[in-house]
Protein backbone atom coordinates (compact mmCIF):
# COMPACT_ATOMS: atom_id res chain seq x y z
CA UNK A 1 0.00 0.00 0.00
CA UNK A 2 1.36 3.37 -1.01
CA UNK A 3 0.30 4.98 2.31
CA UNK A 4 2.20 2.43 4.42
CA UNK A 5 5.22 2.89 2.19
CA UNK A 6 5.05 6.67 2.63
CA UNK A 7 4.70 6.30 6.38
CA UNK A 8 7.58 3.86 6.67
CA UNK A 9 10.12 5.63 4.47
CA UNK A 10 8.97 9.13 5.34
CA UNK A 11 8.86 8.80 9.13
CA UNK A 12 9.62 5.37 10.62
CA UNK A 13 12.88 4.57 8.79
CA UNK A 14 14.41 8.04 9.38
CA UNK A 15 13.42 7.73 13.04
CA UNK A 16 15.05 4.31 13.31
CA UNK A 17 18.26 5.47 11.61
CA UNK A 18 18.61 8.58 13.78
CA UNK A 19 17.74 6.55 16.88
CA UNK A 20 20.44 3.97 16.16
CA UNK A 21 23.10 6.65 15.72
CA UNK A 22 21.99 8.37 18.92
CA UNK A 23 22.08 5.10 20.84
CA UNK A 24 25.58 4.34 19.49
CA UNK A 25 26.69 7.80 20.62
CA UNK A 26 25.42 7.14 24.13
CA UNK A 27 26.70 3.58 24.29
CA UNK A 28 30.20 4.32 23.01
CA UNK A 29 31.01 7.67 24.50
CA UNK A 30 34.18 8.13 22.50
CA UNK A 31 32.16 8.26 19.33
CA UNK A 32 29.46 10.44 20.83
CA UNK A 33 30.82 13.52 19.13
CA UNK A 34 28.71 14.21 16.06
CA UNK A 35 26.95 10.85 16.31
CA UNK A 36 23.44 12.27 16.66
CA UNK A 37 24.20 14.91 14.06
CA UNK A 38 25.33 12.23 11.63
CA UNK A 39 22.19 10.30 12.51
CA UNK A 40 20.00 13.20 11.38
CA UNK A 41 21.93 13.38 8.11
CA UNK A 42 21.71 9.64 7.48
CA UNK A 43 18.02 9.71 8.39
CA UNK A 44 17.40 12.15 5.55
CA UNK A 45 19.41 10.04 3.10
CA UNK A 46 17.69 6.81 4.14
CA UNK A 47 14.22 8.33 3.80
CA UNK A 48 15.04 9.79 0.38
CA UNK A 49 16.44 6.49 -0.91
CA UNK A 50 13.35 4.66 0.32
CA UNK A 51 10.85 7.09 -1.17
CA UNK A 52 12.65 7.94 -4.42
CA UNK A 53 15.90 6.11 -5.16
CA UNK A 54 19.62 6.48 -4.66
CA UNK A 55 20.72 9.88 -5.88
CA UNK A 56 22.48 9.86 -9.23
CA UNK A 57 26.22 10.34 -9.36
CA UNK A 58 27.08 13.02 -10.02
CA UNK A 59 23.84 14.37 -8.56
CA UNK A 60 21.38 15.59 -11.13
CA UNK A 61 19.56 18.16 -9.05
CA UNK A 62 19.75 20.19 -5.83
CA UNK A 63 17.71 17.79 -3.68
CA UNK A 64 20.13 14.99 -4.57
CA UNK A 65 23.12 17.12 -3.59
CA UNK A 66 21.45 17.90 -0.26
CA UNK A 67 20.73 14.28 0.70
CA UNK A 68 24.29 13.28 -0.21
CA UNK A 69 25.82 16.14 1.78
CA UNK A 70 23.51 15.55 4.79
CA UNK A 71 25.46 12.64 6.33
CA UNK A 72 28.74 14.55 5.92
CA UNK A 73 27.29 17.59 7.62
CA UNK A 74 27.12 15.72 10.93
CA UNK A 75 30.86 15.18 10.85
CA UNK A 76 31.51 18.79 9.86
CA UNK A 77 29.30 20.15 12.64
CA UNK A 78 30.98 17.84 15.12
CA UNK A 79 34.38 19.09 14.03
CA UNK A 80 33.21 22.67 14.33
CA UNK A 81 32.03 22.02 17.89
CA UNK A 82 35.30 20.23 18.70
CA UNK A 83 37.28 23.27 17.53
CA UNK A 84 35.51 25.49 20.05
CA UNK A 85 38.91 26.79 21.23
CA UNK A 86 40.16 27.39 17.69
CA UNK A 87 37.91 30.14 16.37
CA UNK A 88 39.82 30.66 13.12
CA UNK A 89 39.60 27.01 12.12
CA UNK A 90 36.03 26.85 13.32
CA UNK A 91 34.87 29.82 11.32
CA UNK A 92 36.89 28.72 8.32
CA UNK A 93 35.16 25.34 8.36
CA UNK A 94 31.74 26.95 8.74
CA UNK A 95 32.46 29.38 5.93
CA UNK A 96 33.71 26.73 3.49
CA UNK A 97 30.82 24.37 4.26
CA UNK A 98 28.24 27.13 3.84
CA UNK A 99 29.81 28.31 0.58
CA UNK A 100 29.90 24.78 -0.86
CA UNK A 101 26.32 24.09 0.21
CA UNK A 102 24.95 27.27 -1.35
CA UNK A 103 27.06 26.86 -4.49
CA UNK A 104 25.73 23.36 -5.11
CA UNK A 105 22.10 23.97 -4.17
CA UNK A 106 21.69 27.26 -6.01
CA UNK A 107 23.68 26.48 -9.15
CA UNK A 108 20.60 26.31 -11.41
CA UNK A 109 19.39 29.68 -10.12
CA UNK A 110 22.76 31.24 -11.03
CA UNK A 111 22.72 29.54 -14.41
CA UNK A 112 19.17 30.25 -15.56
CA UNK A 113 17.51 32.90 -13.44
CA UNK A 114 19.94 35.33 -11.83
CA UNK A 115 22.20 37.99 -13.22
CA UNK A 116 25.76 38.01 -11.88
CA UNK A 117 24.88 40.77 -9.43
CA UNK A 118 21.77 38.99 -8.20
CA UNK A 119 23.79 35.82 -7.73
CA UNK A 120 26.39 37.57 -5.60
CA UNK A 121 23.77 39.36 -3.50
CA UNK A 122 21.76 36.18 -2.88
CA UNK A 123 24.82 34.08 -2.04
CA UNK A 124 26.18 36.67 0.40
CA UNK A 125 22.79 37.24 2.08
CA UNK A 126 21.96 33.55 2.39
CA UNK A 127 25.49 32.77 3.49
CA UNK A 128 25.18 35.30 6.31
CA UNK A 129 21.87 33.77 7.42
CA UNK A 130 23.25 30.21 7.41
CA UNK A 131 26.40 31.20 9.30
CA UNK A 132 24.37 33.11 11.88
CA UNK A 133 21.96 30.21 12.40
CA UNK A 134 24.87 27.77 12.68
CA UNK A 135 26.75 29.88 15.19
CA UNK A 136 23.71 30.80 17.29
CA UNK A 137 22.44 27.20 17.43
CA UNK A 138 25.85 25.89 18.48
CA UNK A 139 26.01 28.57 21.17
CA UNK A 140 22.52 27.69 22.35
CA UNK A 141 23.34 23.99 22.67
CA UNK A 142 26.07 24.94 25.15
CA UNK A 143 23.86 27.23 27.21
CA UNK A 144 20.17 26.55 27.23
CA UNK A 145 18.05 23.65 28.38
CA UNK A 146 18.09 21.17 25.54
CA UNK A 147 14.56 19.77 25.70
CA UNK A 148 13.01 23.14 24.95
CA UNK A 149 15.40 23.72 22.04
CA UNK A 150 14.75 20.31 20.49
CA UNK A 151 10.96 20.58 20.94
CA UNK A 152 11.01 24.04 19.38
CA UNK A 153 12.94 22.80 16.33
CA UNK A 154 10.67 19.78 16.13
CA UNK A 155 7.60 21.99 15.88
CA UNK A 156 9.26 24.10 13.17
CA UNK A 157 10.15 20.97 11.19
CA UNK A 158 6.60 19.63 11.41
CA UNK A 159 5.00 22.87 10.27
CA UNK A 160 7.64 23.25 7.56
CA UNK A 161 6.62 19.86 6.21
CA UNK A 162 3.00 21.00 6.04
CA UNK A 163 3.88 24.33 4.41
CA UNK A 164 6.11 22.71 1.79
CA UNK A 165 3.57 20.01 0.89
CA UNK A 166 0.82 22.62 0.62
CA UNK A 167 3.01 24.72 -1.67
CA UNK A 168 3.32 22.11 -4.39
CA UNK A 169 6.17 19.78 -3.45
CA UNK A 170 5.22 16.70 -1.51
CA UNK A 171 8.83 15.49 -1.72
CA UNK A 172 10.22 18.56 0.05
CA UNK A 173 7.45 18.25 2.63
CA UNK A 174 8.47 14.63 3.16
CA UNK A 175 12.11 15.66 3.56
CA UNK A 176 11.16 18.14 6.31
CA UNK A 177 9.11 15.34 7.86
CA UNK A 178 12.16 13.04 7.80
CA UNK A 179 14.13 15.67 9.70
CA UNK A 180 11.30 15.95 12.24
CA UNK A 181 11.22 12.17 12.62
CA UNK A 182 14.99 12.02 13.02
CA UNK A 183 15.05 14.79 15.60
CA UNK A 184 12.11 13.30 17.49
CA UNK A 185 13.80 9.93 17.57
CA UNK A 186 16.98 11.59 18.86
CA UNK A 187 14.91 13.11 21.66
CA UNK A 188 13.50 9.70 22.61
CA UNK A 189 16.78 7.77 22.42
CA UNK A 190 18.60 10.48 24.36
CA UNK A 191 16.43 10.14 27.45
CA UNK A 192 18.58 11.27 30.33
CA UNK A 193 21.44 12.46 28.15
CA UNK A 194 19.80 14.93 25.81
CA UNK A 195 22.34 17.63 26.50
CA UNK A 196 25.15 15.44 25.24
CA UNK A 197 23.18 14.48 22.15
CA UNK A 198 22.25 18.03 21.31
CA UNK A 199 25.79 19.20 21.89
CA UNK A 200 26.94 16.49 19.51
CA UNK A 201 25.29 18.34 16.65
CA UNK A 202 21.71 17.10 16.35
CA UNK A 203 20.18 20.55 16.70
CA UNK A 204 22.73 22.31 14.49
CA UNK A 205 22.51 19.75 11.71
CA UNK A 206 18.72 19.92 11.82
CA UNK A 207 18.74 23.70 11.56
CA UNK A 208 21.10 23.72 8.56
CA UNK A 209 19.30 20.92 6.71
CA UNK A 210 15.84 22.28 7.46
CA UNK A 211 16.94 25.73 6.32
CA UNK A 212 18.22 24.17 3.10
CA UNK A 213 14.94 22.31 2.48
CA UNK A 214 12.97 25.51 3.09
CA UNK A 215 15.29 27.30 0.67
CA UNK A 216 14.71 24.60 -1.96
CA UNK A 217 10.98 25.06 -1.44
CA UNK A 218 11.23 28.79 -2.04
CA UNK A 219 13.59 28.74 -5.02
CA UNK A 220 12.46 25.59 -6.82
CA UNK A 221 8.89 25.02 -5.71
CA UNK A 222 6.10 27.45 -4.86
CA UNK A 223 6.67 28.09 -1.14
CA UNK A 224 5.59 31.71 -0.64
CA UNK A 225 8.33 34.12 0.41
CA UNK A 226 6.30 35.07 3.48
CA UNK A 227 6.11 31.44 4.63
CA UNK A 228 9.81 30.89 4.00
CA UNK A 229 10.75 33.99 6.02
CA UNK A 230 8.43 33.00 8.89
CA UNK A 231 9.89 29.48 9.02
CA UNK A 232 13.45 30.83 9.14
CA UNK A 233 12.37 33.33 11.80
CA UNK A 234 10.83 30.46 13.77
CA UNK A 235 14.23 28.72 13.76
CA UNK A 236 15.74 31.90 15.23
CA UNK A 237 13.27 32.19 18.12
CA UNK A 238 15.13 29.80 20.49
CA UNK A 239 18.07 32.20 20.34
CA UNK A 240 15.81 35.22 20.86
CA UNK A 241 14.07 33.58 23.82
CA UNK A 242 17.43 32.68 25.37
CA UNK A 243 18.58 36.31 25.08
CA UNK A 244 15.47 37.41 26.96
CA UNK A 245 16.67 35.23 29.85
CA UNK A 246 13.36 34.33 31.42
CA UNK A 247 15.06 33.15 34.64
CA UNK A 248 11.91 33.65 36.66
CA UNK A 249 10.13 30.94 34.67
CA UNK A 250 10.56 27.42 35.97
CA UNK A 251 11.48 24.46 33.74
CA UNK A 252 8.09 23.46 32.34
CA UNK A 253 6.85 27.00 31.69
CA UNK A 254 10.20 27.97 30.19
CA UNK A 255 10.05 25.02 27.81
CA UNK A 256 6.46 25.82 26.92
CA UNK A 257 7.44 29.39 26.14
CA UNK A 258 10.38 28.26 23.99
CA UNK A 259 8.21 25.85 22.02
CA UNK A 260 5.34 28.32 21.61
CA UNK A 261 7.66 31.07 20.44
CA UNK A 262 8.89 28.79 17.64
CA UNK A 263 5.64 27.01 16.85
CA UNK A 264 3.55 30.17 16.47
CA UNK A 265 5.35 31.68 13.45
CA UNK A 266 5.82 28.20 11.95
CA UNK A 267 2.12 27.45 12.28
CA UNK A 268 1.32 30.81 10.73
CA UNK A 269 3.71 30.05 7.87
CA UNK A 270 1.95 26.73 7.19
CA UNK A 271 -1.45 28.39 7.36
CA UNK A 272 -0.32 31.12 5.01
CA UNK A 273 1.00 28.58 2.50
CA UNK A 274 -2.32 26.71 2.64
CA UNK A 275 -4.40 29.86 2.27
CA UNK A 276 -2.33 31.27 -0.59
CA UNK A 277 -2.47 27.95 -2.40
CA UNK A 278 -6.18 27.41 -1.84
CA UNK A 279 -7.16 30.93 -2.79
CA UNK A 280 -5.35 30.76 -6.13
CA UNK A 281 -5.95 27.12 -7.05
CA UNK A 282 -9.27 25.63 -6.04
CA UNK A 283 -9.35 21.98 -7.04
CA UNK A 284 -9.53 18.55 -5.53
CA UNK A 285 -6.13 17.57 -6.91
CA UNK A 286 -4.79 16.87 -3.41
Amino acid sequence: MPTMSLLFYGLILPGIVAGVFTWIGRRFRRSAAASAGKGIGFALLAGYVGLVDWPAWPPNEATQWLVLIAPLLGGVVGLSAWWSHRPVLRWGLRFITTAVLLFLLLGPMREYHWTSTQGVVWMVALGAVVLWLWRSTETLTQRCRSVGLVMALLSVAIFSAIALAASGSILLGQMAGMLAAGLGSTLIFSAGALGQTVRSGAATVTVILLGAVIGLGYFYSALPASSALLLVAAMCTPWVVEQARFETLDGAWRMLFQVSAAAAPALFAAGLAFWLTMSSHSSSYY
Binding site: S5, N60, P108, G168, S169, I170, L216
Partner: protein, 190 residues
Protein backbone atom coordinates in the same frame (compact mmCIF):
# COMPACT_ATOMS: atom_id res chain seq x y z
CA UNK B 1 35.05 28.96 -77.21
CA UNK B 2 34.27 25.41 -76.06
CA UNK B 3 36.49 25.89 -73.03
CA UNK B 4 34.70 29.12 -72.17
CA UNK B 5 31.26 27.46 -72.55
CA UNK B 6 32.34 24.55 -70.37
CA UNK B 7 33.72 26.90 -67.79
CA UNK B 8 30.52 28.92 -67.83
CA UNK B 9 28.39 25.79 -67.39
CA UNK B 10 30.57 24.57 -64.58
CA UNK B 11 30.40 27.87 -62.77
CA UNK B 12 26.61 28.15 -63.13
CA UNK B 13 25.89 24.53 -62.24
CA UNK B 14 27.56 24.68 -58.82
CA UNK B 15 25.05 27.07 -57.18
CA UNK B 16 22.19 25.36 -59.07
CA UNK B 17 23.29 21.97 -57.75
CA UNK B 18 23.51 23.30 -54.19
CA UNK B 19 20.01 24.76 -54.57
CA UNK B 20 18.54 21.52 -55.89
CA UNK B 21 20.11 19.23 -53.29
CA UNK B 22 19.88 21.38 -50.06
CA UNK B 23 17.16 20.70 -47.48
CA UNK B 24 14.55 23.41 -47.06
CA UNK B 25 14.70 25.18 -43.74
CA UNK B 26 11.49 25.67 -41.76
CA UNK B 27 11.01 27.44 -38.46
CA UNK B 28 8.42 25.82 -36.22
CA UNK B 29 5.21 27.82 -35.91
CA UNK B 30 4.41 27.63 -32.17
CA UNK B 31 0.77 28.63 -32.73
CA UNK B 32 0.09 25.66 -34.98
CA UNK B 33 2.27 23.11 -33.19
CA UNK B 34 1.41 20.94 -30.20
CA UNK B 35 3.12 18.65 -27.72
CA UNK B 36 0.69 16.44 -25.80
CA UNK B 37 1.47 13.71 -23.31
CA UNK B 38 -0.48 11.06 -21.50
CA UNK B 39 0.42 9.23 -18.31
CA UNK B 40 -1.39 6.80 -16.02
CA UNK B 41 -2.82 7.95 -12.72
CA UNK B 42 -3.08 5.32 -9.96
CA UNK B 43 -2.84 2.72 -12.74
CA UNK B 44 -6.55 3.17 -13.45
CA UNK B 45 -6.90 6.12 -15.80
CA UNK B 46 -4.99 8.16 -18.33
CA UNK B 47 -4.24 11.80 -17.62
CA UNK B 48 -3.46 14.10 -20.51
CA UNK B 49 -1.46 17.28 -20.55
CA UNK B 50 0.32 19.58 -22.95
CA UNK B 51 3.23 21.96 -23.23
CA UNK B 52 2.29 25.36 -24.56
CA UNK B 53 5.70 26.73 -25.55
CA UNK B 54 7.38 25.03 -28.51
CA UNK B 55 10.15 26.41 -30.72
CA UNK B 56 12.57 24.85 -33.13
CA UNK B 57 13.34 24.12 -36.74
CA UNK B 58 12.95 21.47 -39.40
CA UNK B 59 15.33 20.98 -42.31
CA UNK B 60 13.46 18.80 -44.76
CA UNK B 61 14.73 17.40 -48.02
CA UNK B 62 11.88 15.55 -49.73
CA UNK B 63 14.19 14.01 -52.30
CA UNK B 64 16.79 12.88 -49.77
CA UNK B 65 15.01 12.51 -46.43
CA UNK B 66 18.13 11.07 -44.84
CA UNK B 67 19.61 14.55 -44.99
CA UNK B 68 16.69 16.03 -43.05
CA UNK B 69 16.87 17.08 -39.43
CA UNK B 70 14.67 18.46 -36.71
CA UNK B 71 15.35 20.39 -33.51
CA UNK B 72 12.61 21.11 -30.95
CA UNK B 73 12.85 23.02 -27.68
CA UNK B 74 10.01 23.03 -25.18
CA UNK B 75 9.79 25.23 -22.10
CA UNK B 76 9.00 22.85 -19.25
CA UNK B 77 7.35 25.68 -17.36
CA UNK B 78 4.60 25.72 -19.99
CA UNK B 79 3.16 22.40 -18.82
CA UNK B 80 -0.64 22.59 -18.75
CA UNK B 81 -2.96 19.85 -17.44
CA UNK B 82 -6.01 22.08 -16.96
CA UNK B 83 -5.51 22.12 -13.18
CA UNK B 84 -3.32 24.86 -11.69
CA UNK B 85 -2.55 22.90 -8.51
CA UNK B 86 -1.45 19.85 -10.50
CA UNK B 87 0.62 22.07 -12.81
CA UNK B 88 2.36 23.58 -9.75
CA UNK B 89 3.10 20.07 -8.51
CA UNK B 90 4.45 18.99 -11.91
CA UNK B 91 6.77 22.00 -12.01
CA UNK B 92 8.15 21.25 -8.52
CA UNK B 93 11.22 19.13 -7.66
CA UNK B 94 8.84 16.17 -7.43
CA UNK B 95 8.60 15.91 -11.21
CA UNK B 96 9.83 18.26 -13.96
CA UNK B 97 11.71 20.63 -11.61
CA UNK B 98 11.23 23.44 -14.10
CA UNK B 99 13.34 26.03 -12.25
CA UNK B 100 16.36 23.73 -12.48
CA UNK B 101 15.60 22.31 -15.92
CA UNK B 102 13.73 25.02 -17.81
CA UNK B 103 14.14 23.50 -21.27
CA UNK B 104 13.60 20.05 -22.76
CA UNK B 105 15.18 19.52 -26.15
CA UNK B 106 15.14 17.03 -28.98
CA UNK B 107 17.82 17.02 -31.67
CA UNK B 108 17.63 14.46 -34.45
CA UNK B 109 20.64 12.37 -35.49
CA UNK B 110 19.10 10.39 -38.33
CA UNK B 111 15.94 10.31 -40.41
CA UNK B 112 15.03 7.10 -42.21
CA UNK B 113 12.08 6.72 -44.58
CA UNK B 114 9.83 3.81 -43.58
CA UNK B 115 7.04 4.28 -46.09
CA UNK B 116 5.30 6.87 -48.18
CA UNK B 117 5.58 10.05 -46.15
CA UNK B 118 6.54 8.07 -43.05
CA UNK B 119 9.85 8.28 -41.22
CA UNK B 120 11.71 6.91 -38.27
CA UNK B 121 13.58 9.72 -36.54
CA UNK B 122 16.32 8.89 -34.08
CA UNK B 123 17.75 11.60 -31.89
CA UNK B 124 18.74 12.81 -28.45
CA UNK B 125 16.10 13.87 -25.98
CA UNK B 126 17.37 16.00 -23.09
CA UNK B 127 14.88 16.10 -20.26
CA UNK B 128 15.39 16.78 -16.55
CA UNK B 129 19.12 17.06 -17.06
CA UNK B 130 19.42 13.62 -18.66
CA UNK B 131 20.11 12.98 -22.35
CA UNK B 132 19.05 9.71 -23.94
CA UNK B 133 18.60 8.49 -27.48
CA UNK B 134 15.01 7.92 -28.54
CA UNK B 135 13.30 7.04 -31.78
CA UNK B 136 9.98 8.37 -32.93
CA UNK B 137 7.67 7.47 -35.77
CA UNK B 138 6.78 10.53 -37.77
CA UNK B 139 4.52 11.21 -40.69
CA UNK B 140 4.71 14.07 -43.17
CA UNK B 141 1.12 15.27 -43.17
CA UNK B 142 1.51 17.70 -46.05
CA UNK B 143 3.11 20.75 -47.58
CA UNK B 144 1.54 23.82 -49.12
CA UNK B 145 0.94 27.54 -49.12
CA UNK B 146 -0.58 29.58 -46.33
CA UNK B 147 -2.89 32.56 -46.79
CA UNK B 148 0.02 34.95 -47.23
CA UNK B 149 1.65 32.75 -49.83
CA UNK B 150 4.36 31.33 -47.59
CA UNK B 151 5.44 27.70 -47.79
CA UNK B 152 4.53 25.44 -44.87
CA UNK B 153 4.73 21.79 -44.00
CA UNK B 154 3.41 19.64 -41.21
CA UNK B 155 4.67 16.59 -39.34
CA UNK B 156 3.06 14.37 -36.73
CA UNK B 157 5.19 12.23 -34.43
CA UNK B 158 4.78 9.78 -31.55
CA UNK B 159 7.27 8.42 -29.03
CA UNK B 160 7.26 6.78 -25.61
CA UNK B 161 9.65 7.23 -22.70
CA UNK B 162 9.95 6.13 -19.10
CA UNK B 163 10.18 9.11 -16.81
CA UNK B 164 12.41 7.14 -14.43
CA UNK B 165 15.01 6.98 -17.22
CA UNK B 166 15.16 10.76 -16.90
CA UNK B 167 15.64 10.66 -13.12
CA UNK B 168 12.01 11.50 -12.32
CA UNK B 169 11.33 8.73 -9.84
CA UNK B 170 8.98 10.30 -7.29
CA UNK B 171 5.54 8.72 -6.78
CA UNK B 172 6.05 5.90 -9.28
CA UNK B 173 3.34 3.93 -7.50
CA UNK B 174 0.68 6.58 -8.07
CA UNK B 175 1.80 8.32 -11.27
CA UNK B 176 2.85 6.06 -14.14
CA UNK B 177 6.38 5.60 -15.38
CA UNK B 178 5.44 5.30 -19.05
CA UNK B 179 4.76 8.55 -20.85
CA UNK B 180 3.42 8.71 -24.39
CA UNK B 181 4.11 11.92 -26.28
CA UNK B 182 2.38 13.16 -29.42
CA UNK B 183 4.11 15.99 -31.17
CA UNK B 184 2.54 17.87 -34.06
CA UNK B 185 4.72 20.42 -35.82
CA UNK B 186 3.98 22.97 -38.49
CA UNK B 187 6.93 24.74 -40.04
CA UNK B 188 7.18 28.00 -41.97
CA UNK B 189 9.78 28.03 -44.72
CA UNK B 190 12.52 30.62 -44.26
Amino acid sequence: MRLNLCSFLAIVSIPLASTVWAADHYEIDPVHSSAIFKIKHLNLSQTYGRFNSIIGSIDFDAKAPGKSSVMVEIATDSVDTADAKRDTHLKSPDFLNTKQFPIMKFVSNSVQPTGRGKYKIVGDLTLHGVTKSISMHAEHIGSGKDLSGGDRLGFHGLFRIKRSDYDMKHSLDSVGDDVEVIIALEGIKK
